[in-house]
Structure formats: C-alpha cells, structure tokens
C-alpha cells in the first residue's frame, strides 16, 4: 500500500467517524466538532491527491479552505451559544419548531 492510499484510507476513516458522530450524537457542540472532523477528512483527501499529482494548487487551496472553515466556525459557535441561552439546553431535540 503506498502513501497516497494510506492517506486516502485515513481521510475516509476521518470522514466516516465524523459522519457517525453527526448522526448519533444529540449535543449541538459535539455535532459541530464532528462536522469539523468530516471537513478535515475531505481536506486530507484533497492534500493527498495534490501531493500525488505534484501540483501546488492543491496545497494553496487547502489554506483557503482553512480560512473559510475558521470563519464558518466563528459564526457557528455564537449561534450555538445563542441557542443554548434560549432554552438552557444543547440537545438539538429541543429545537424542532420547524417540524412539518
């Protein structure tokens, strides 16, 4: 198994762990962290392919994605904070008013 394959397997593992975490956990903060895990898995695959094809563009793109992810989490955390202030709970089951 060469390096790229190892890295891809690791990326898939990270992604799946994050996905399972999003699916089974009910705590909003933990779900956020799991989403970050999924994102990291995806970025790892991006880097792996970039290294495999020996292009610099992939490495540059990764930094862009990090910046965007940081901005996104900077918004997501305050939202979760405001939610928890509203109902004193981080259980997402408590926030189902938009149910059809």
């Amino acid at each position: 198994m060469d390096r790229t394959q190892l890295l891809l397997a690791l990326s898939i593992t990270l992604f799946s762990l994050g996905f399972v975490g999003v699916m089974v956990r009910r705590n909003a903060l933990v779900m956020l962290m799991c989403m970050e895990l999924m994102l990291n898995g995806v970025i790892l695959s991006l880097v792996a392919f970039a290294a495999h094809s020996a292009t610099l563009a992939g490495a540059v793109l990764v930094f862009l994605v990090f910046v965007v992810a940081a901005a996104e989490i900077a918004i997501a955390i305050p939202i979760v904070l405001l939610l928890s202030r509203q109902k004193r709970s981080l259980d997402i089951g408590a926030y189902s008013e938009l149910k059809g």
């Binding site: 996905f19 999003v22 699916m23 089974v24 779900m31 997402i92 089951g93 926030y95 189902s96 008013e97 938009l98 149910k99 059809g100």
Partner: protein, 625 residues
Amino acid sequence: MNLLTLIVLLPLAGFLLNGLAGPRLGKGFVSVVGCGLPILAFLATVRAFMQLNGAEGAALVETAYTWAVVGDFSFDIAFYFDRLSALMTLIVTGVGSLIHIYSTGYMKDDASYARYFAYLNLFLFFMLLLVLGRSLLVCFVGWEGVGLASYLLIGFWFDDPAKAQAGKKAFITNRVGDAGFLLGMFLIYHALGTLDFDAVNAAFTGPVAPAVSASLVGLLLFIGATGKSAQIPLHVWLPDAMAGPTPVSALIHAATMVTAGVYLVARLNGLYLQAPEASQVIAVVGLATAFFAATIAVVQTDIKKVLAYSTVSQLGLMFLALGVGAYGVAVFHVYTHAFFKACLFLGAGSVIHAMSGEQDIRKMGGLARKIPVTFATFAVATAAIAGIPPLAGFFSKDEILWFAFASETGGSPLLWAIASFSALLTSFYMFRLLWLTFLTPSRMDHQTEHHVHESPFSMTSVLIVLAVLSAVGGFFHVYDFLEPVMPMPAASESLHHLKMPLIYVATAVAFAGLGLAWFVYRDGLARGDRLRQRFAGAHRLLSGKYYVDELYEAVLGRPLHWISDRVFLVLGDRALIDGSLHGLAATAQRAAGRLSRVETGNLQTYVLLVVLGLVASLAWMWRNG
C-alpha cells in the same frame, strides 16, 4: 354643404345637451333644445327635399366619414337621399317634431323630464341614421340604435318591474330578428362585396345574377324585419311595449320605428323582385299577422292595447303589400298610418291624461262632451284607419287590397278576402273603442269624472295638425311619387274592370264595421257582455292572445331555464369550473400535507437525507459519467 349629415347630427346634439346638461338647466332649456333641434332637422329635411326635387330626382349622396378600409373596400358612413328616404325622413322628423311638442305637455310633471327628451332625441338620431344610411351597415347601426332607444323608453319608468320587464322583452325579441338581419348582411357582403343599397339593388336587377340566392338573403333580412316590425312570430313585444309613456308609443311603436322593417324591404325592392319565394312568405306572414292581431284587438279593454294590436295588424297589411310587389303602396300606408296612428295614440294619451291615468275603456264613456277637441281628432283618425272615404286610410288600404287581389306577382282573391275581413275587424274594433270611450253613457266613478279636463294647447294643437293630415294625407299619392325608385307591379288586365266594384266593397266593409260597432256598443257594455258570454271559449282564446306568450314560455323559456339551471349552472359552472379550481387547490394542499412530513424537526434525519442524496447522485454520475 353637408345637409344630410346635419339632419342626422341635430338630434344627437339634442341628446348630448339634454342628457349631460338638461337636469341642471331646467325644463325651459330642455323643452327648447328637445323640440327645437328636431324642428331644425325637419326644416333641413325640407331643404334637402327641395334640392332633391331640383335635381330631377337624382339621389343626393354624402359621405360623412370613412370608418374603415379593408383591401379595396371601404366602410363609409354615407347618407343616401332619394325619394324613398326623403319621404321617410320627412315622416320621422315631421311627426317626430310634433310628438316632441306634445310631450312638453304630456310629460310636464315628470321628474325625469330631461332624461325623457334626451332619449327621444337619441331615438330620432338613430332612426335618421336608419332611413338615411346608404349601406346596410349604417342602416344596421341605426336599426340597433332605435332598438336601444325603444328599450330605454319602454322602461322609462323603470322602478315598476313590469315596465322594466316589458323593455327587456322588446329588446330580446328584437335580438332574434337582428340575428337574421346580420346573416343576410354577411351573405350580401360575401356575394357582392358591397353593402350599399343602390349597389345591391343594381346587382340583383342587373344582367348577371349574383352568386347568392335572392330568396335566402330576402328571407334572412325579413326575419330582421319581423322583429322590428312586430310580425308573427316575433310580434309579442309590441303590445307589452305600451308600458312606455304614451307619446313614445305614438312615435316609436306606431309611427316610425316599427315601420323600419317595411322600409328595409321597400329599400331592397330590387332584391325582393328577384325573390318570389321570399315575397310569398312576406305576403302570407303579413296577412296572418294582420288577421290575428285584428281578432285580438276586438276583445282588448285597455285603450293602448287596442291601438297596439291595431298597429300590428296595420303593419301586417303593409307587409302584405310588400309581398305582392306593391312597394310604393306599402310605403303609402306607412305614410298615412304615421298620421292617423300617431293621432290615435296621442289622443289616447290625452284621454289618459284627462282620466288621471285610467286606461280601461270599460271605465270610461261619455267623454265626447267633456274633451271635445280630443274627441273630434280621435274620431277623424278612427274614421281614417277604418277606411272611411275620403280620409287617408281609405286610399292606402284600398290600394293594398287592390294589389292583394290583382297583382301579377302573387295577388289572389284569397289574400284579398282575408285582408278585407281584417279591414272589417279593424273598422269594428276602432269604432268600438270610439263608442266605449267617448259616446256611451259615462261609467266613470265620481272622483275621476270630477277631474276630467281637456289637455293643454301644446297637446291639442298637435292632435289637430295630425287629424288634418289624417284627413287629407291620402290625396298625395305616394306611390306615384315613388314610381321612379320603386316600380309598381302590373295588375292583371283581365281584372281591371273589377277595380271600381272592389272600391265599393271596401267602402261597404268600412261602414259595415261602423254599423256593427254602433249596433253592439251604442248603449254601453250590456250587449257586448252578452256576446262574450255566448262565445266564452272564443273570448278566452282571444283575450289570451292565442296563448303565444305562454307557448313561447313553454317551448323556449322553460327549457332555457332548465338548461341554464341544470346544465350550465350545476354541471358547467359549479362542477366544471368551480370543481376544477377547487380540485387543483385541494390537490396542492394534500400534496403539501404529505411532503411536509419530511420536515421532522430532527437534524439527523436531514443530514441523513442530504448524504443519501449526495451518494445517490455520485453513484449516478459514476455509472453514467
């Protein structure tokens, strides 16, 4: 100088002035405008008439406006003034002006004085458009317009539902006829490419026969004429039209508008000369109308209803004349009829005025001494319509009877016999009316009797003028005057020796009617009542007007209601239109209800669905990409 356009536009100006400004400017203004402009139109007509005579009978033609140009054919609003339209225009503006003057007295206390004169002027405008129009198109605009004015005036007192209903009945019945008129017009335009009367007549009398059956066109146009001129089977509206003010009945439903059908057929005499089948139908329908209407008139007890049925009957005689090819004679009768029938209606108006609104002749009697001017003029007009020589009606009716007997284009002794019998009935019911109203001992209640008074000068003067015209009008032989426009039919040579005897018979018939009426009604109602009891069945049939209204109600009215209710309302409107709209809305609602269940409020479900969707689309791309 656009004399003809001026004639037409003067009454329109009166309509606009009275309709827009009349109610604010007071009755004086309304009377001056309402009567003045028709009189000016009459004077302009006289001037045009002198120009026509100066031009040796060549028709005056004026194009007022080009309405539309389609290909190489242009629809013009053009006016055509030959001897026939000259005579009709003189009648319309002349009798019209007189009736306007009479109305200033009759409608003096009406709250809607200005509206009344506005409508009356509007009627004159459309009627002039009808008789002066050069093409069928302009004529049709006038034709519809007089229908509208007639509707407005019949329902003039529209707060009475019965009167509003009568207006609607007149309008709707006329629409049936108008459909025939339109179809005839389409056929003519399709075949000839023109609608001008002179061109149509020339095309049908020309050497090359047009590619359309003259009889078909003639019959379709005659259907239009039966509507406007109240012939069987569309005669039902005219008696009901008496709901309007009496001067309106005189002007529209006796003297002018109802003769529009006669005018139309006479105008297109070139076409009808080539249509013997259509002419036969016209003669038979006219004769049947004359006869049946006369029988109904015998039992009517409302003074205006008697006159209404008499109008229907006289119109039938005119169509009989048209049917046997004697177009000039029919117009002659239009002309004399305009005088004596206007006089009779206005006289009836004067009687109603005197009787404080009572119209039942069984409750009148003895009015001769109380309202002598009305009586004298009414008597002259009655004698004229009955055909007593030498009054106007005698000459025109006698000519009609002669041509019904001897015309080589459809005359026959049978037509003559039935027409003469109708004339006998006419004479009888008219003198019955005269006796019951004026001569028998009074049957009024005390209150009414106390109030009886002669009408004001504005009304009696008009009555006198019309009575004089009814007396001497017959000496102007219209058919000779119209000979260049409308040739007279040939009378069979072998019958010429019978002409004088037939005149004696006609005179005897008129006097027989007079004598019969005198015999039955000289002392009042007693003998008439005994006759009624003896012939109760016949009386019921006649006073039920042969149950034509009931027949139409059963054959047309009720099925129409049923279809409207059951098919169009329940199936069409409710089931189809409402149903499909409501169904669409309900489907959308139900679908939304189902789909909204996906929104569980559970974040994990959403994530799962998103991922499933992503995986599915990726798989699809992998397989097909």
